[in-house]
Amino acid sequence: MLMSSGIPDERLLDLYRVMVRIRAFENGVKQLMREGRCGRVSLSVGGEAVAAGVTAHLTPHDQIGSTHRPLGHLVAKGADLNRVMAEIMAKATGTNRGKGGPYHIFDKSVGALGANGVVGGSVPMCAGYALADQLRGDGSIVVSYYGEGASNQGGVQETLNLAACWRLPVVFVCENSSPEVQRMLGHEIDYPQLSIDDVGSRGAAYGIPGVTHPGWDVETVYAAAGEAVKRAREGGGPSLLEFKIYRLDGDTDDGYCPVRLLRERLTGRGVLSEELDAKIWDAEAARVREAIEYAEGSPEPPLIDAYTGVYVGEHR
């Protein structure tokens, strides 16, 4: 049976599973933070539909660049949950061997290249990943995630222009988490940081498609991302997708909660029973518990690790 958006039920259920996986993982991290078992991690609760809906169009060979709120993007891209959790807990088995932390998680094995601690820092590098894809000609593409704050950075705007000039296979995904009242770092500000309502409108300035959609509706995200990814894969060049989202507290059942919205839709249409829903949550929660156990059972990096890996190969 096809739903109104034309997305098959099975596909929607897959998207739901990924969104639950992200939510469960971040709930686990939140609990660890509360208990003082890890340092501060910036969560992406409220952005699950963007991460799931965009990534559904990607292959393991496609690359992503992310932000300081990377967990949704990483989990959706298939990053190793055990090793991501171990990195959050600064363990030797972490993706980055405990040296980078949540703001800098890379999992090269799945093309997650990667989180970034500097606002807008990953975006120019995404042009490079896309250039490599273009030259290799294997049809791989890049998704460059950033927030509305980063959208103003010179490096981000320069990259939009460069990507357009070189027709690079990249999809820029701006998650605008200040859809009504502009906020910065979660705090209200005295002057707006955007001179426009919709970051998507900036696509026109670079001669590329730019659209704005609600990011809490995974069907909308899925459809918009599908078009942009197809364009990139076919050599049509970059697009700019803006998704409005609300950063939520993981415990609330907010009206803009993408997970809740999809659950209600799926149950309303008889695709998701209570029993199946419980099964999905249980399975994902079990994976998170496993990841936490793995991380907690992992060793601290030896002190000598502080000095290794500054350069590759022999160095004196």
């Binding site: 340092g39 501060r40 990195e87 600064a90 363990k91 980055n96 405990g98 040296k99 980078g100 932390g101 703001y103 800098h104 601690g117 500097v118 606002v119 807008g120 820092g121 704050g149 980063a150 103003n152 950075q153 010179g154 490096g155 910065m184 770092l185 705090h187 209200e188 500000i189 005295d190 002057y191 940081q193 955007l194 601290e300 990096p301 002190l303 690790d305 502080a306 000095y307 500054v310």
Partner: protein, 323 residues
Amino acid sequence: MTRVITYAEAINEALGAEMSRDPRVILFGENVSSSWRPATKGLKETFGRERVRDAPITETAFIGAGVGAAIAGLRPVVELMLVDFGLVAMDQILNQMAKTTYMTGGQVNVPMVLRCVYGAAGGQAATHSETLTALYAHMPGVKVAVPSNPYDAKGLLVTAIRDPNPVAFFEHTLLYSMEAEVLEDSYTVPFGVANLVREGADVTVVATGRMVGEAAMAADVLRGEVSVEVLDPRTLVPLDEEAILRSLARTGRLGAVDEDYERCGFTAEVAAIAAEKGFHSLVAPVARVANPNVPIPFNRNLERHVLPDKDGIIRAVKAVMKP
């Protein structure tokens, strides 16, 4: 009259006093209007949103705007939420802010203060923990102040704001809560005048920023065993070379400490000054205690391991005291 306030409150007082005194002084940066930022808290309410304004997360634009406003006759104080983020805007800082006075043949000057919040604070990893004072001190045209305590923070910031040159003003995250007696009235602490933190006879330790406190603790631990003199230059540019060389002439031994990367860093500068101008005073090799040239690791044990501290200073002092 003095009372006990924090380092952050001392900065806040200096900003408020100079904004009251001089209508040309304006303040901007990320989230400077928010009440959760102790160094700028309340200034927007007092001086209004024209003079205290939030900037978007666009370091190139708002630091460059500081340079322009300074050239155009204002006295901007621009805040970098973390010094690491200034790396996004190096052209505006190291080309435009630093060199415009010189390159214009003195037609214009850049009376601006760039307040750089810096330092490793525990588990923030390599893009949120750096010191980078040497990067600024390296570039001709920039003055560099690195207050180690609340009293100096207030007095040096007033001096910085009144200086006709660009000043990079380094505020350590972990010092924000440090308390000390500070004069209520406004005062200045001059640039280029070192502060004698501990008097000693056996070895001179030159330390900056948060490392001044670590060096003083090391001196206290070693008391009775080694007499350690601790000097805080307070500004790296201009640098009170005389004070360092005078102290070295008395002690004959020298250590240099800061939180920045060791290679080509401030500690290297101190060692070079000793080698060039104090060579005949030296009776032992100079010891340096700084970050051993690695990015700050996320893991806290690794971070503690690479950060200079009291224990490392004690080891270095003992090493230079070996006959």
